[in-house]
């Protein structure tokens, strides 16, 4: 008997869903990210306006002064949808858990010099409340934003901040005990040094324009606070007492590097849309940058002592350079 084997190549009739093909062309397969993002949010047949806001539809692009022709022009360079996001974070979390276990099992926290321990607790623990604020703010951007291309990464970002608040709590519990958390909360509520930052965070809670909030929180506050705490303060602590705290805050450090790419890409797209957007975003950035500098100055002084002013100047310069690079005028 003679058997003839041959390969039959079957070309699929459709490469992706029609709604996706309408955007990217029907000749090529769509990525999972595109399929899980493009046009996911409903945009028609809203029968009733929400009782809590009868001026707007439930999803309404006019909740921000920024205008976009197409809200799906935003693209997350990390291409996060639920699957990739959880995988990426699981990997980072595994490393972080490893670090915590390492510090615990070797008793590194107990041998950590007292002066450095106090300083670390004083600077890091009140930041739990800042992280929680960032969680609230990003959730708000997701709730009032328009288009899954931007609301989706905002919600991921919110969850990240919640996670980082928990990591800071664990740093507190590892270096000290529950009382440290209460002390930090009292400092956050009553210490003069924290009040400007607290005002900044609490003012952002009531912001109506979600894109303005994006600037105030994700670009400006994170853009100055993270390098200050997780680079400069971190190297001060390492120089004093070794890299124990660096290990415990590694998640934040890596997270900031990764998330900045998304923030940069998002703003670049928004401001290249029109000259009005560019001016609006620039003026918001200037306003919040100046406020954030005032808010962070006492924290810098607390963390870095007499080097604070030089470091703040350097950070602001870096921040300006970054903003100008993707197209803001400052």
């Amino acid at each position: 008997m003679h058997l003839d084997l041959r390969t039959v190549s079957i070309t699929p009739l459709r490469q992706t869903f029609d709604s996706i093909a309408a955007r990217i062309g029907s000749d090529k397969p769509a990525s999972r990210y595109q399929e899980a993002t493009l046009d996911v949010q409903p945009d028609a047949n809203f029968h009733y306006r929400p009782l809590w806001d009868p001026e707007h539809d439930i999803y309404d692009a006019s909740r921000t002064a920024v205008k976009m022709n197409d809200w799906y022009a935003f693209k997350d360079p990390r291409q996060f949808y639920y699957g990739t996001y959880t995988l990426a974070r699981a990997r980072m979390q595994e490393t972080a858990e490893g670090d915590f276990t390492f510090v615990e099992s070797r008793g590194l926290a107990n041998n950590f010099p007292t002066a450095s321990k106090d300083l670390a607790l004083k600077v890091l623990l009140p930041l739990r409340h800042v992280e929680w604020g960032a969680n609230m703010n990003n959730t708000s951007m997701c709730a009032y934003g328009y288009g899954a291309a931007i609301t989706q990464p905002c919600l991921f970002n919110a969850m990240d901040h919640l996670g980082m608040a928990q990591y800071l709590t664990r740093v507190g519990l590892l270096l000290d005990d529950v009382a440290a958390l209460d002390t930090a909360k009292q400092a956050w509520l009553f210490d003069a040094g924290w009040q400007e930052l607290r005002r900044y965070v609490e003012d952002t809670f009531v912001m109506k324009d979600w894109f303005e909030l994006f600037i105030a929180q994700n670009l400006v506050l994170n853009g100055l606070l993270y390098p200050l705490v997780y680079q400069h303060f971190d190297s001060v602590l390492s120089a004093q007492a070794g890299p124990v705290v660096s290990m415990l805050t590694r998640f934040q450090h890596e997270w900031y590097a990764e998330t900045s790419k998304w923030v940069n890409a998002t703003l670049k797209i928004a401001l290249s849309e029109s000259i009005e957007n560019q001016q609006l975003l620039s003026s918001w950035t200037k306003t919040y940058r100046d406020r954030a500098i005032i808010a962070l100055a006492p924290i810098a002084a607390l963390a870095l002592g007499d080097k604070a002013e030089a470091v703040m100047a350097e950070l602001v310069e870096e921040f300006n350079a970054r903003a100008i690079k993707f197209g803001l005028t400052l």
Binding site: S9, P29, S31, P77, R78, Q79, E258, K261
Partner: protein, 89 residues
């Protein structure tokens, strides 16, 4: 000039690599086959780390290519930043 080629499995990682190759090599042509994708290029084919990282949105080590690599032809020249195939050597 004779072609060099490289063949990958079709998946979410290689989609970005293929896009990067097409962007960096004007003469390259794609041949999509069941579960694999073949890229032919006359004389020379470059894979640049930077372009792949742009497409993927994360850091990329060129060694990661080998996870999804099925076959290739050409002499390999490999650095940290670029992986190239050619008939030069």
């Amino acid at each position: 000039m004779s072609n060099v080629f490289i063949i990958f499995q079709t998946n979410e990682d290689t989609r970005n690599i293929v896009e990067a190759i097409l962007q960096d090599n004007d003469a390259a042509s794609v041949n999509e086959q069941p579960a694999m994708v073949r890229i032919d290029s006359p004389g020379m084919l470059r894979i640049r780390r930077e372009t792949v990282e742009d497409k993927m949105g994360r850091d990329f080590d060129l060694q990661e290519l080998h996870v999804n690599l099925i076959s290739l032809s050409g002499n390999i020249n490999e650095t940290d930043d670029e992986f190239s195939l050619s008939w030069k050597h």
